[in-house]
Structures are given as C-alpha cells and as structure tokens.
C-alpha cells in the first residue's frame, strides 16, 4: 500500500534576520515594545494532490516556485503550516548527493550510516556493501577517505547508495547523474531496475526530456500554487509555451511575501 495525499496544504515560513536570531535582541525587543512585523514567505498555497501506487510524478516550475519545498514536505523534513499531508508507506528522500556521507571516512565505512538512515537492516547493509563496491568501480579507492575521491567517484558512490534501498515512496530532487560514458549506461540500467521496485516516485527536475520519458503525470507549480497537472506531454508543452512568453510577466500573481504579525 502506497499513497500520498495533500489536502489543502499550505506552507509559510518567516524570514528570520540577524536580530530575530539573537535571543538577547529578541528579549530586549519584547521589553521595549510588542513583537514587530516579520516577513512571511508563502511558499505553498492550498495544494490538493493525490498520488497513487504506480504513479511516477514529475514536478516542474521555475526556480523558487515551491517544487523543492513540496518535496521536503512529502519527505517529512518540513511540516505544513495548514492543511493535511497523509503518506501511506515508507518514504525515502534523496535530495542531494551528501546522503550522510562523511568525507573523512572511506567508501566502505560510508555505506552503513546512509543505509541505516534509509531504514536498512543488517543483512541489507551487508548486501549493499558488496553491491556498491562492485557497482561503483572504485577499486582501491573504496578503502580510502571519500575526501580523496574525484567528483565522479563521489557521485558513483552516492548513486550506488541512493539506488540500493527499495522503498514505497521515493522523493528525488533533480537527478542523480554523473560519471563517464560507460558509467551513464550502467547507471541508467541500475536506475531503471531500481525504480521498478518503487511504488511511487516523486521527482523534481528541470530536465523536461527526462520527465517526459520517466513520468506518468506532471504537476506544474508556479508561485506556490498548482498551475496544472496531467499527462507529461500536454503539461510540458504548455509550460514551454509559458516560458517562451516570458514567464507570464503580465499575469497578476498573489503576493509571495507578506508582513506577519509578531510571533
């Protein structure tokens, strides 16, 4: 069973400046006068979405549209300000290549923590260690500190880790890619096999070709709101038309930032 449901979900966050981050200044301000206005960013507004098992969801939108925020909400890193988020099934979030890898330790030593963070048991960790050693082709570097790795080697290790733990719901930001030509082919095969085991994939990317081939549905978000959602081909061409027309500069938008009453 895997399902994601977002009901009327909104996410606002305050912009904390230096004074807001100081306990001394905050207390002093309290004594002088009441709380002052603070800028509030409305990152997501009234989002209603349902993802069912088998769906491959692509998120598109210009920079700052709210894609990454939405991924972080689904991944459980951030919590909605209002509305509801229901996830059924195990959620794994891979937002960048860091994965909990500590550059001071070797590749071999960096398998267990990322795997455990994704919820692996001891047998899975042992299997992944052999699997990733073979896949990432690090040779002797596998036992050297990760800070000695080239970018490509680091990416292969991260990619190997990211694709070794099947889950119900996978949340991905941008795409895991890198390496030489030989590796790209190998990576694609591994990724395809891996994704087949995942029930729901939610992927944010600027690579429209990728979204068109991988996804079963594309959700277009702009200014914190859903513009449209539907089959990849139709949504992506509508999006491209909008981008060519200059990002809809003439349209009237709801303000992204407002002044909030003091907390």
């Amino acid at each position: 069973m895997a399902r994601v449901e977002l009901k009327n979900l909104s996410f606002d966050y305050p912009v904390l400046d230096v004074a807001d981050r100081s306990i001394k200044l905050t207390l002093a301000k309290r004594v002088q006068r009441g709380g002052s206005g603070r800028l509030l960013v409305h990152a997501l507004r009234n989002i209603n979405l349902t993802f069912e098992a088998g769906e491959r969801i692509g998120l598109i939108g210009s920079n700052g549209s709210g894609k990454s925020t939405l991924l972080r909400l689904i991944g459980g890193l951030a919590f909605p300000t209002s509305g509801e988020l229901i996830t059924e099934g195990k959620v794994t979030t891979i937002l960048d290549k860091s994965m909990g890898i500590n550059p001071e330790f070797s590749g071999a030593e960096n398998i267990e923590l990322p795997m455990r963070m994704m919820g692996a048991d001891t047998a899975m960790v042992a299997a992944a260690r052999e699997d990733i050693r073979a896949f990432a082709e690090l040779g002797d570097f596998f036992d050297l500190p990760v800070r000695r790795y080239s970018d490509g080697m680091r990416a292969r290790l991260a990619f190997g880790l990211a694709t070794s733990m099947p889950t119900d719901i996978l949340v991905l930001d941008e795409w895991l890619s890198a390496g030489d030509a030989n590796f790209v082919h190998k990576a694609e095969t591994r990724l395809t096999e891996f994704l087949e085991k995942i029930k729901i994939v939610v992927l944010a990317s600027h690579s429209l070709d990728l979204l068109e081939t991988v996804c079963t549905r594309v959700v277009w978000i702009e200014n914190g709101e859903i513009v449209n959602s539907g089959p990849p081909g139709a949504i992506i061409s509508a999006y491209l038309k909008w981008v060519e027309s200059g990002f809809g500069m003439k349209e009237k938008k709801a303000p992204l930032v407002s002044v909030a009453a003091g907390e």
Partner: protein, 259 residues
C-alpha cells in the same frame, strides 16, 4: 504520521543511526592523536595531578585525598558540561544533514550523549589508575556507579533536548550557555570541597550540577551519595526530561524553518 512519540520511539527504532553517528564523532575527534583515545584522558590526568600538587597545599588537605577528589570531580564535570555545551549544538551541527534528511531531535541528541559517554568511559579508565595511585580501593558503594551514571546520562539527554532547539532558533544562545557553564564551574564543588567553605550550604544545595556530580563522584570515592543528593539529582533529571519533551513537541515542526 510522525508525532513527538514517534520521535522518541526513533531512539529504539533507529538506534543504529545515532550509535554510528556517535562512534564516527569519537573516531574523528581522536583521529590525529598518536595515543588515540587515551591522549585526551592522559592530559586530563596530567592536569589533575598538576593542580593537586598546588591546591592540596593551598587548602591544606592531604595530597592523595585531594588528588582523588579532584580527579573524580573533573571527570564528572567534563562529562556533564560537555553534554550541556554540546547539547546546545546538536541541531546546529547537523544543519547540513537536516536540510536533506529527516532525523528526529532525540536521535541527534542521543548521538551527542553516546559520544560523550564513550569519552567518559575512556577518561574513567585513566582516572581509575590515578585513584589506585592515590590508594583508593573499590568499595561496595561502587555498585551504585551504574545507577548514578544512568541518572546523569538521562539528565544530559534532557538538557540537550531543551538547549538544542533553543540554540538553533537563537544563534547566540550557544555562547550564553558556554558562559553560564564557565560560571557554574566555579560555584560547583569541584576544586573545593563542600565541607570546606564558609558558604551557606543553600548555595550548594540549589546547584543541580553538584547533585549530579555526586551521583558519580561519591561511588568512585567509595561512598554512597547522600539521600538528599539522590533526590535532588532525580528531580533535576525528571524536570529536564519533561521540559525537553515539551521543547521537542514545540520545535519538531519548526526545525526546518529554523535551519
């Protein structure tokens, strides 16, 4: 759906995560020293012996008596103060990880406690040698040590669950915690003995760190902690855990916004 209960449940469900993180921290800290773990402990022993040579004369207390008292006091103080100061940094230090992975506050606190318990155990071995040199032999009261240690560990956990979110929200709070801890060192009986001063004992009694230190120091020196110490220490621990719970409940949904 995750709740404050499941955040604390992660301590059991995801114990490997905090365990591995804590062990990695310890390994990194000891990495560049030749003698490994014991280098830091050796410098603790050297400092304790040095201060004892001087202060046993100033206070006119027998050298070995003072040495044993100071060694155990420092051992406990280093442990407790590290959990308070580093407790404020548990979330700040994990900022990068928290931007990309979902880890609950108790897991990150447990990582810090695990790291400091490991360092405490190393220090304890070296201090045990110092105690033998000072002629202190294990007494039955030593059996209280695991209980006392557990009380202190839980208190440290409680402090960190209070301070971690606070120091993430307010970036200057960590410095306040450090300054406050420095003052606490001088008003707590570590260098001096409570029986020694002319200070009204109420100033010692209201100091929770004193009672916590006694949970470990007394059994090491061969005495059971006084009932008063045990009750105050238990009270402090319970209060810290309850306040920490409230802090986690309040902060857990805001952590991402505070990063």
């Amino acid at each position: 759906m995750s709740t404050v209960w499941s955040d604390y449940g992660d301590l059991l469900d995801r114990w490997r995560v905090w365990w591995i993180m804590g062990m990695q921290d310890v390994r990194l800290r000891y990495r560049r020293s030749v003698l490994g773990p014991f280098w830091i402990s050796m410098s603790l022993a050297a400092m304790v012996i040095g201060i004892s040579l001087m202060y046993s004369q100033i206070f006119d207390i027998g050298f070995t008596t003072y040495l044993a008292y100071l060694a155990c006091g420092f051992l406990c103080w280093n442990f407790i103060s590290a959990m308070v100061i580093e407790g404020g940094q548990v979330l700040v230090d994990a900022e990068q990880i928290l931007k990309t992975a979902s880890l609950s506050i108790p897991v990150l606190v447990a990582r810090m406690v695990q790291r400091n318990v490991t360092i405490f155990m190393h220090n304890l071995l070296v201090i045990a040698v110092v105690l033998m040199f000072a002629g202190i032999r294990p007494e039955p009261a030593l059996l209280f040590l695991p209980v006392g240690l557990l009380i202190v560990i839980l208190a440290g956990f409680g402090f960190a669950t209070i301070l971690g979110p606070l120091c993430l929200r307010f970036r200057d709070a960590g410095q306040l915690v450090t300054s406050f801890t420095q003052i606490l060192f001088f008003v707590t009986p570590i260098l001096w003995m409570p029986s020694q001063g002319r200070l009204d004992s109420v100033w010692i009694d209201i100091n929770p760190v004193y009672h916590l230190i006694e949970m470990i120091r007394s059994p090491l020196l061969g005495e059971m902690p006084a009932l008063k110490n045990i009750l105050f220490a238990l009270g402090t621990t319970a209060a810290a855990l309850v306040a920490g719970w409230a802090s986690v409940a309040y902060a857990r949904r805001k952590i991402y916004i505070w990063l």
